[in-house]
């Protein structure tokens, strides 16, 4: 039995400890916001927060999560907007993403947003180089990078 915290709630599972978090989240637990893009840590589509740090769900075995805190895109807004009902809450990054009309197909965006949110909590005023470094591991085949940069700049400048 593996126990950890998922989006603020305690969860336990008797699934195989070597199963990657990604497949457990999507197929067994039923949270499909975290996406599969490569399975080898090369695209960032599956980015979640593990103890506040960005992590790749496709490379994180369930066994490695014992006692840790995992946040997925579905839980991102909860802690961020204290007192807001979950249904209407948006994290500042999610709002900036909407304001800058970032998404095209949108498939990579949960991972982008999780990486961006992790960057901002570690470094609230990232410069261009910090943005490039933090976001380089999140691929977007539709090419939304200019808008991701613009949205992040706006948050960093306190405009979002």
């Amino acid at each position: 039995m593996i126990e950890f915290e998922l989006n603020g709630r305690a969860v336990s599972t008797d699934a195989d400890a070597s199963m990657p978090l990604l497949w457990w989240l999507r197929d067994i637990h039923g949270l499909t916001g975290t996406k599969y893009g490569c399975g080898i840590g090369a695209c960032g589509a599956c980015t979640v927060h593990i103890d506040g740090e960005p992590g790749r769900a496709c490379l994180s075995s369930l066994g490695s999560l014992e006692g840790r805190k995992v946040i997925t895109i579905e839980g991102l807004a909860h802690g961020a907007v204290a007192g807001t009902p979950a249904a209407t809450a948006l994290h500042v990054v999610q709002r900036a993403w909407m304001d800058h009309d970032v998404a095209q197909c949108g498939y990579c965006q949960a991972g982008q947003i999780m990486s961006a949110a992790a960057l901002l909590s570690a470094n609230p005023r990232p410069d261009e180089a910090a943005i490039d470094a933090a976001m380089a591991g999140n691929l977007c085949r539709c090419g939304t990078y200019p808008r991701i940069r613009a949205a992040l700049r706006a948050v960093a400048a306190g405009e979002a």
Binding site: W24, G33, W97, D101, C105, Y107, G143, R149
Partner: protein, 735 residues
């Protein structure tokens, strides 16, 4: 030909028939909902409920190109609706919508008229309903903001109050469309309608579909095109915890169309167990003749091929005499590498076959095509197949080539349970319908004015029509028609030849299709001719265009509904887009030291595009792209923000492909398998500035998703030449 069988290829070839389908869709009897008293449904695309909520059906797939944002706005504009009271319904596969193939940059192009008409006729009926209610002439009433008003008396009735009466009125045959000066939503920038669902992770893509009892399957499929299973040992696979069984995907004989390769599917309780089961399979493949396919020797074959005459696809003037004449002779070969689409969401489909019916949920570009082909596969009537399109996590052409749907259907048929058939990234890259590799040979003789008096173009690449024509080994006219035979330049003697190329691997269409390599070769060679003549490349292009002309594109049948005036190439629009961009980028002015740039232009999908790529270079390493400017004339623009996003995305897609897009083959297999060895552009590699210059145009809408892609590689190659003095004639560019 069955009128619904409209793949892109057939569409290009037989545009007239696509038009016929559309007309049928439009003239279909008005559809009444089950509760006709409370609902007003004057057309297949629109209905209004008792609360006045407008439901607009979007019959195309959303894959990032913005159809769920742009299409409803067309209808809502004509309807004078309040957008806050408009909801989108995703259309199932249904002939009533006409063509549903989300491909060929044509959603707005083909639905522009039907949606305007649907909105206009609903509006006219609402106005008449109000006029009758007030007992006033309809001409004195007008629709505004989800209501009908009588300005003279200040009377006003909300649509909610009018639908019951409107539903009883006859549907007008020829509703009057709004004057374009009165558009309120068309031409106004709009953000993505589904943005909230996307940023919260609640948008459902094909990969996210979950239905009760669903099992997960992945396939070990032919590693080489047409390989056959010699023997299988699946004992270990079946012993993997969570695995439910293995199922054979049968071999499909040629012509195969989109039917899948032979393979063994492993069905399991979850994706991870299915993958582990697949890893435990032991399959002995008879790889067949295609196992000798290897990029190096194949490229040599293509080079040999263009050294000989090919099939004539366009002839003008006397090419032999022209090339033999006096004057400067220019010659060059251009080569491009094989590419994979690699949409961020790999191919995936959920299917449930039971009781002589089949239900499918999948990120597919053409639901009607899926329905017809799956019905055929299962031997049931098409109306027994229900196809629901999910959000598409990118497609770029891959998801209209539906081998993955057949696999899902086949496993569900055999296993008797709902099946999610998913592809891994490795599956996606290895078993792609690749964008083929190509070789072009260009030869020209320049006249006294420096312009080409004779120009021969030879093109060799495997034809996509292998799917339907067994043993085909020449590019087809529709393929050379995507950028070569419809080129706008006024050259007295021209010969365009399609040269032999066999098909040793599955190839298919990818964003912009043949335009990618044609634009690269054309623009590259124009620059070389311009340099030989000592003329600036932009002025050279303008001179080559000659006097403004409009001519019918060869290899296309004109059709007023499908391609509007698009079967015609308008060289005036081509000229203006070049001039516009030259002005916006101050092309005639010198750049600061260390900055260089290149220019390219191309017409495709009835739109006209020009691109300037600017690079920075200090003589060391590779030049670095500092900005990309693209001007586009895609006719009348519905959502400028949507076009802007397509231009940005196309620049990044094109730049990544030009810099490192390359699939190589050995032993008949793609040597790349994931993002580690098949690079796509990263954010840190994205130029700081990408700017779209959208031309104002009243022409009928043209394509926007594909046209801004082909100009990127040649403009980049030209910028690299300007920086380094070296010509770049191969893609990807090697510095």
């Amino acid at each position: 030909m069955d009128t619904l069988k409209l793949s892109r290829r057939e569409f290009v070839r037989a545009g007239g028939r696509a038009g016929a389908v559309l007309v049928l869709g439009l003239r279909a009897a008005p559809v009444r909902s089950e509760s006709a008293t409370s609902l007003f449904s004057p057309d297949v695309f629109v209905s209004i409920d008792a609360a006045g909520l407008v439901l607009v059906t979007v019959s195309r797939g959303e894959m990032g190109q913005g159809v769920r944002t742009s299409l409803p706005r067309i209808l809502a504009d004509e309807l004078e609706a309040d957008l806050a009271r408009v909801e989108v319904v995703q259309g199932l596969a249904d002939q009533r919508y006409g063509d549903q193939n989300t491909d060929g940059s044509r959603s707005v192009r083909m639905l522009w008229s039907p949606l305007r008409r649907a909105g206009a006729l609903a509006r006219e009926m609402l106005v008449r309903a109000a006029a009758e209610h007030w007992n006033l002439p309809a001409a004195e009433c007008r629709a505004r903001d989800h209501a009908v008003e009588h300005p003279a008396t200040g009377r006003r009735l909300d649509y909610a109050q009018l639908v019951a009466r409107a539903a009883k009125l006859p549907v007008p045959e020829t509703p009057v469309l709004k004057d374009s000066a009165d558009f309120r939503f068309i031409g106004v920038a709009a953000p993505m309608r589904d943005a909230r669902a996307v940023v919260t992770g609640s948008a459902i893509y094909g990969y996210d579909v979950r239905i009760p009892g669903m099992k997960y399957a992945c396939v070990a499929r032919a590693p080489v095109f047409d390989a056959r299973i010699r023997s299988l040992d699946d004992v270990a696979a079946r012993a993997v915890p969570g695995v439910r069984g293995t199922y054979r995907i049968p071999f499909s004989a040629h012509p195969r169309s989109f039917r899948p390769e032979e393979g063994i599917a492993v069905l399991a309780d979850d994706s991870w167990s299915a993958m582990r089961g697949r890893d435990a399979l032991s399959i002995d493949w008879n790889e067949g003749a295609n196992a000798t396919y290897e990029t190096g020797s194949f490229r040599a074959e293509l080079r040999e091929s263009v050294s000989q005459a090919g099939k004539l696809r366009l002839q003008r003037g006397d090419i032999t005499a022209g090339l033999a004449a006096e004057g400067v002779r220019v010659e060059a070969d251009y080569e491009t590498a094989m590419l994979a689409h690699a949409p961020m969401e790999p191919p995936v489909a959920v299917a449930w076959v039971r009781d002589g019916r089949c239900e499918i949920w999948a990120p597919v570009q053409d639901p009607q095509d899926v329905r017809r082909r799956v019905a055929d596969w299962l031997g049931i009537a098409p109306d027994k197949v229900k196809v629901t399109i999910t959000f598409l996590g990118g497609a770029f052409g891959r998801k209209s080539q539906i081998d993955f749907v057949f696999e899902a259907v086949e496993v569900s048929r055999q296993a008797g349970v709902p099946v999610k058939l998913f592809w891994t990234r490795e599956d996606d890259i290895r078993n792609c319908y690749f964008h083929a590799e190509s070789v072009h040979r260009m030869e020209a003789r320049l006249g006294a004015d420096g312009l080409p008096s004779a120009w021969r173009m030879r093109a060799a690449y495997p034809s996509i029509d292998w799917m339907d024509v067994k043993g085909l080994d020449y590019p087809m006219p529709w393929e050379t028609g995507m950028g070569l035979t419809n080129m706008p330049f006024d050259v007295p003697a021209v010969s365009i030849e399609a040269c032999r190329a066999r098909v040793p691997i599955r190839i298919g269409w990818l964003r912009s299709v043949c335009n990618l390599w044609h634009a690269f070769a054309l623009n590259g060679f124009i620059d070389e001719m311009a340099a030989a003549a000592g003329i600036d490349p932009v002025s050279y292009r303008l001179r080559m265009l000659g006097k403004d002309r409009v001519f019918a594109a060869p290899n296309e049948e004109p059709d007023p509904l499908v391609n509007f005036n698009g079967t015609r190439v308008d060289t005036g629009r081509y000229r203006r887009v070049i001039e516009h961009l030259a002005e916006r980028t101050h092309w005639s002015e010198a750049l600061p030291t260390g900055r260089f740039r290149g220019f390219a232009a191309h017409n495709s999908f009835y739109s006209y595009v020009a691109t300037v790529v600017e690079v920075e270079y200090d003589g060391r390493g590779a030049p670095r792209v500092t900005r990309i400017d693209t001007a586009i004339d895609c006719g009348l623009v519905v959502n400028p923000e949507g076009i802007r996003k397509q231009v940005e995305g196309a620049a990044i897609f094109g730049l990544g492909a030009a810099l490192f897009g390359e699939i190589t083959a050995q032993g008949g297999r793609a040597m790349q398998s994931n993002f580690g060895d098949y690079r796509i552009l990263r954010l840190s590699e994205c130029p700081p500035v990408i700017e779209a210059h959208i031309m104002r145009s009243d022409a009928e809408p043209g394509g926007a998703g594909e046209p801004p892609t082909p100009t990127i590689a040649p403009a980049l190659a030209a910028a690299f030449f300007a920086a380094t003095g070296k010509r770049f004639r191969d893609l990807p560019l090697r510095v």
